[in-house]
């Protein structure tokens, strides 16, 4: 059996002459899996990624890639095994996408960096795998931030690494593109049997697509496991808990704040009720059961009447739409 793509033991990471940011960490990455590194800002995610990719020396402990100590790999050999996509902005004039992606072949080419026919094929594959075929002849100065990130991904793929490490690849992307890139990474991991480690702030996507999650907290503790496991153990809630934000394990999403206002009960079909509750939560209403003691009840109006109805202290008010409903509630409870 082949050695694991990446194993660390007792690893401490941080910048020289400063206290270590994270550690001790016993980590492992498996082939063919997508791992997401999550955690609030300032918990050392980038520092960890830079250490694992050999750009920053470890403060202590060991990292091994495919069985070889990271510090003992020659720079060229390391570049053949491991590719990175960083948050660094590449700003060069007159550099077209294909030339940039070709630079990914450097660990495999001769002293002049000339591409063989096989190298050119790998470059073409990388370009289409990252979905940037239509950008191939463009100048990188003309590209949007999102396009640049996908081009840098293509360049990393051209390295044909066993291990792909990406820092905040989805930061500049809109939701459809974020989804596209994360699914692309998962499929790449599966199809090519490489292990992919990506740091992201996109918890929702990470929970849905990651095979494994690494979770760094601002208190310095570190959790790893299947995303569902971390949710059920309450690690997510603890790591991201704050005064304004709480993790709703049942929904798998975050709630903005804990409502403490009047109690409201909602009746209606599932979908309508769900969105009405969200609107009420925004106004600070507590959500209570229809049968319990509520300050205000919201229901769908009877046939032919206005669609929404507010019952409060025996009075009924009809509202034409949700905006009107919320306006009435604001007046009732004096905002």
């Amino acid at each position: 059996m082949m050695a694991a793509p990446l194993i660390s033991s007792e690893l401490h990471v941080g910048y020289p002459l400063r206290p270590s940011v994270l550690g001790p960490l016993d980590l492992s990455l498996k082939a063919g899996r997508l791992t997401c590194l999550l955690g609030p800002n300032g918990t050392g995610k980038t520092t960890l990624l830079r250490t694992l990719s050999g750009v920053l020396p470890a403060r202590g402990g060991r990292v091994a890639i495919e069985g070889t100590e990271l510090s003992e790999l020659s720079p060229r050999r390391r570049a053949q095994l491991l590719a990175v996509v960083l948050t660094d902005r590449v700003t060069v004039g007159m550099l077209d996408v294909r030339t940039l992606v070709s630079l990914g072949r450097q660990p495999h080419t001769d002293w002049r960096g000339r591409l063989s026919a096989a190298d050119s094929r790998v470059v073409d594959d990388a370009i289409s795998a990252a979905g940037v075929d239509d950008l191939a002849e463009r100048n990188i100065a003309e590209l949007s931030d999102g396009e640049r990130q996908r081009v840098m991904l293509a360049r990393a793929l051209a390295q044909e690494p066993r291990l792909l490490i990406l820092d905040e690849i989805t930061a500049f992307l809109d939701l459809p593109h974020r989804l596209h890139v994360m699914r692309l990474l998962r499929d790449l991991a599966r199809r090519r049997g490489i292990s992919v480690l990506v740091s992201t702030h996109d918890l929702d996507l990470a929970l849905r697509l990651a095979d494994e999650v690494w979770l760094a907290s601002s208190r310095g503790d570190f959790h790893q496991g299947a995303p569902e496991e971390l949710v059920l153990q309450g690690d997510f809630g603890r790591v991201f808990a704050s005064e304004a934000l709480r993790f709703d394990a049942a929904q798998g999403t975050f709630r903005v704040d804990r409502p403490s206002g009047p109690r409201a009960a909602v009746e209606g079909d599932d979908l309508t009720a769900k969105w009405l509750r969200r609107a009420l939560e925004r106004l600070g209403y507590q959500d209570v059961d229809w049968t319990s003691d509520a300050d205000v009840r919201i229901a769908r109006g009877a046939n032919g009447a206005e669609p929404y109805q507010i019952q409060q202290g025996g009075r009924l008010r009809d509202c034409p739409d949700i905006a009107g409903l919320l306006e009435t509630l604001r007046q009732l409870h004096g905002e």
Binding site: S53, G54, V55, S74, P75, R76, R77, R78, A79, Q80, L82, A83, V84, L86, D88, R89, V90, T91, V92, G93, M94, L95, D96, T99, L100, L103, G104, Q106, P107, T109, W111, R112, G113, R114, D134, E137, R138, A141, E142, Q159
Partner: protein, 362 residues
């Protein structure tokens, strides 16, 4: 989106056509160099017929006897100097721009040439206070020492710039380089205070850049050293290309950033050092050449650009030198004035052009 699509469709054919123009463009540049080189030999205070120039070069019979020494002793060394030094300075411009990730970098603008001059000034003072002018007393050894001192001065400024470039933005580095230039010019004046007048005059006479002053003996040092520097530069094609992505990415591609920096600084020291030792501080050739070549070849690939800047640098230097000694100019122009007339607008354009500005992160 439709806008972007039509724009790329428009540009696609021109880019495809521009994909393999290298050999054609190289030949064009080489032909232009040959033409200007020949003009350099024929034009001047005295115009010499091209037949006589050819005769002088090939050792044939010339129509008058005065022609041969003018061509061989004055104009040929001068043209050779411009050819070689231009190639060197063009190469330095491109390398500096890549190493400092700064499209406005240039040995003159960043003050590197003044560091080189300072090295020579120090040498003149240290050896000169004991007796006669070093240049005359020590012969070849003196010339060689001058090139070495100049190279050391180059490395000094490069080190200062490297330390600064970690802290400041692209444009601030330019201002810092300008200040370093003033600082070293000031230091040179202070140092010159300690040498006798005739030496000081010899030094200040080439505080402006010129290809006219170099002797055949100096060319015997200049030409081989520049050749070595250019070969070393060519060996750096791959590391320079990876540095286009920045140091972190270059490192992730297997580059030893530290070793590459040492090698590129060595190349710059040899090239800027020798050229500045014998030609003085030559302005703008580096930056003009690098920009013209990127525009002409539409690429950032050093495998294409390095030969291009060597040729373009040589062509630019020969042309600028030709303009300074055109026969009809009543007052002869200083070479840096000619370079400035062409170079400064190009720097301004680079600063003001929107796409450039974006890549400078202004």
């Amino acid at each position: 989106m439709p806008q972007a699509a039509s724009a790329s469709a428009e540009q696609a054919p021109s880019r495809a056509a521009n994909r393999r123009p290298s050999w054609l463009a190289y030949s064009g540049l080489a032909a232009a160099i040959a033409a200007v080189f020949f003009l350099e030999l024929t034009l001047g205070a005295v115009s010499i017929a091209w037949r006589d120039v050819l005769a002088a070069l090939t050792g044939g019979e010339a129509s008058t006897e005065v022609v041969r020494p003018i061509v061989l002793n004055f104009r040929l060394p001068r043209a050779l100097n411009a050819l070689v030094s231009g190639a060197a300075l063009g190469t330095c411009g491109l390398i500096l721009q890549t190493v400092f990730r700064n499209p406005l970098a240039d040995p003159f603008i960043l003050g590197v040439v003044f560091g080189a001059r300072f090295g020579v000034a120090l040498l003149v003072v240290i050896t000169g206070t004991a007796g006669n002018a070093l240049l005359f007393k020590y012969g070849v050894l003196g010339d060689f020492a001058m090139a070495l001192a100049s190279a050391l001065g180059t490395v000094l400024v490069l080190g200062l710039l490297l330390a600064l470039s970690r802290r400041v933005s692209t444009v601030t580095l330019l201002v810092a380089g300008l200040m370093l230039g003033y600082l070293f010019t000031g230091l040179i004046s202070v140092v010159m205070h300690f040498v006798d007048e005739s030496q000081a005059r010899a030094f200040t006479s080439w505080s402006d850049g010129s290809f006219a002053g170099a002797t055949f003996q100096q060319l015997q040092i200049l030409v081989p050293l520049v050749a070595v520097g250019l070969v070393l530069a060519w060996l750096q094609v791959k590391p320079l290309n990876s540095l286009l992505l920045g140091e972190s990415y270059a490192q992730s591609l297997g580059l030893s950033v530290e070793r590459t920096r040492q090698l590129t600084f060595l190349v710059l020291a040899v090239l800027v050092g020798t050229v500045t030792a014998f030609c003085g501080p030559v302005a703008f050739i580096g930056i003009v050449t690098a920009h013209l070549c990127r525009l002409l070849f539409r690429t950032a690939d050093h495998a294409v650009l390095l030969p291009a800047v060597m040729l373009m640098g040589a062509l630019f230097a020969l042309s600028a030198d030709l303009i300074t000694h055109l026969p009809w100019s009543r007052h002869f122009l200083h070479m840096n004035a000619v370079n400035g007339l062409i170079g400064a607008p190009i720097v301004l354009w680079a600063l003001l052009d929107r796409r450039h500005a974006r890549s400078l992160e202004l």
